[in-house]
């Protein structure tokens, strides 16, 4: 594994930043580079929602328990609510806004619609990002494994069985009729 490097060249790595000071931090989000000035206490979730105005990623519990804030960080699914943004300078991030292409839904999004895999929809962006991250990991081959490896995403409407069906259909290459 390669050594991590600090992504933003104007970052002063020796500096001690006071609590109220902002720190330069750069991300590539859904293919677009963003440069921000954030205090150290700003989470990646708040950076996305409040500073980059990408509100597709949801704040549910804000404690890493519900998965509504799941995004892909350098290709891995993570809880954006428990990450201090300044610790991920230079990261490549994909949010729900980066899943579809132009006016075409991602096939997993289409499968969620086809299978009625949500009711209120609040958990759905996290469910979809988490499912895409899970399938990249290559460890979920059965419905049982999908249930276990999607356990970090809660759905209070209880659409779990339909979520598993949607993921299975997408994984097996099934599209809409």
């Amino acid at each position: 594994m390669s050594q991590h490097t600090i992504g933003n060249s104007n970052y002063n790595s020796q500096q001690l930043y006071d609590a109220d000071e902002t720190i330069p931090v750069g991300f590539t989000v859904n293919g677009t580079h963003h440069t921000l000035q954030l205090t150290a206490a700003t989470t990646l979730l708040d950076a996305l929602r409040e500073y980059m105005h990408l509100t597709g990623t949801k704040k549910g519990c804000d404690h890493g328990q519900c998965g509504a804030c799941t995004v892909l960080l350098n290709g891995k699914r993570v809880n954006a609510c428990l990450i201090l943004a300044v610790t991920k300078d230079g990261a490549d991030i994909t949010t729900i806004e980066g899943i579809a292409t132009a006016d075409m839904l991602h096939p997993l999004q289409a499968a969620f619609i086809e299978h009625d895999a949500f009711q209120c929809g609040y958990c759905t962006p996290g469910q979809i990002c988490s499912a895409l991250g899970m399938l990249q990991e290559g460890r979920a081959n059965t419905a049982e494994e999908i249930r276990e490896l999607m356990s970090g995403n809660l759905c209070r409407c209880g659409a779990y069985t339909n979520i598993v069906d949607a993921i299975l259909q997408y994984k097996n290459g099934g599209g809409r009729d």
Partner: protein, 332 residues
């Protein structure tokens, strides 16, 4: 929008020595790596560091084979990368299984090996700043002892604290005799796993034997073969993504039905992973049998005490021990 926390300063460490120097010189400093536990505790106002020293960019992200034939897991390797590492899966499958029993896939992608050792208890009173807690506020009392204590300790607790260590990974590391490599202002040292975490005694705020400013750099797994006979059983209130009520890690070396070497560690029952060398010696060179395992389970729970809501854990732990040893030995 910011985390509603006590104000803290922030700096990035340039290398491990710089990290130790900064953590030692800044007031009430904490290292931050994955942040899965620390950021949560800061949001709850339970952890109130004066400064965070970011160590994510240090070169501690690899798993390498040691000259002795063991493995050295860098402190910043994520839980997921550890569990799914081919060498870990092949030689230390007990560790993979325990890690994958913990947290969620998202958290396992963030949480680091070093951080796992340092995670704090999930005792509800520790998390609730409206209540007393000797761990959070030494001397204030322990409401868990006479309160809601379903998740709490049955072994090694004290009048000051009955909290349990929440880790799954650490239960496997304890059974595997892992060693912790640390760096401090005085140089490096190695701590045996059993000597790393502490029982609460009169100072439950001290959870491990790290010195101020000391940095975990790696976890070393010795070259021992427990890849054929192992089991990790975790009993919890739901089938995934919950902390253990009781967990049992078993690692055996078998010769037919004879136990040649036995390791047994319990989680969810004490302030640290619970081992008892006397029980492991009792099992050694014995033919596996129901009375032997019943004896081992009784010995392992010797001195156990319930606090009301958690009395069930004593019998539960015995039964899980017996089942886990049988399954590890291949006797179902």
């Amino acid at each position: 929008m910011e985390v509603a926390v006590t104000k803290f300063s922030f700096t990035k460490a340039t290398d491990a020595n710089d990290a130790v120097l900064k953590a030692s010189s800044l007031t009430n400093a904490a290292f931050i790596a994955g942040g899965t536990n620390l950021v949560d505790l800061m949001k709850e106002n339970v952890a109130r560091p004066g400064a965070l020293v970011d160590i994510n960019q240090l070169p501690l992200h690899t798993i390498t084979e040691t000259e002795e034939g063991g493995l050295m897991i860098g402190a910043l390797v994520t839980n997921a990368a550890t569990a799914y590492n081919p060498l870990v899966e092949k030689h230390y499958p007990l560790l993979s299984k325990a890690i994958l029993a913990g947290a969620s896939p998202q958290l396992r992608n963030m949480a680091t090996a070093g951080g796992n050792l340092l995670q704090r208890t999930r005792c509800y009173y520790f998390y609730d700043t409206a209540t007393a807690c000797n761990k959070r506020n030494p001397g204030s009392g322990c409401p868990a002892i006479n309160g809601f204590n379903r998740m709490h300790a049955i072994l090694g607790a004290s009048e000051a604290c009955i909290a349990v260590h929440p880790s799954d990974m650490c239960i496997a590391l304890a059974a595997l005799n892992a060693r912790i490599h640390v760096l401090g202002t005085g140089g490096t040292r190695t701590i045996g796993f059993n000597g790393f975490h502490r029982l609460p005694a009169e100072t439950p705020e001290a959870e491990n034997n790290l010195q101020p400013g000391e940095l975990i750099t790696a976890i070393e797994l010795p070259a021992e073969d427990f890849s054929s006979h192992y089991q990790y059983i975790k009993v919890r209130d739901r089938s995934s993504y919950a902390f253990a009520l009781v967990s049992v890690a078993v690692a055996l070396q078998m010769d037919g039905n004879i136990i040649k070497e036995a390791r047994l560690a319990l989680g969810g029952v004490a302030h640290k992973p619970w081992r008892n060398p006397v029980v492991e010696e009792h099992l050694r060179n014995q033919q596996i049998s129901a009375p032997l395992l019943q004896d081992a389970a009784e010995m392992m729970l010797a001195g156990a005490r319930g606090y009301g809501h958690n009395n069930f854990k004593i019998e539960l732990a015995k039964r899980v021990i017996i089942r886990a040893i049988n399954e590890a030995a291949g006797i179902l």
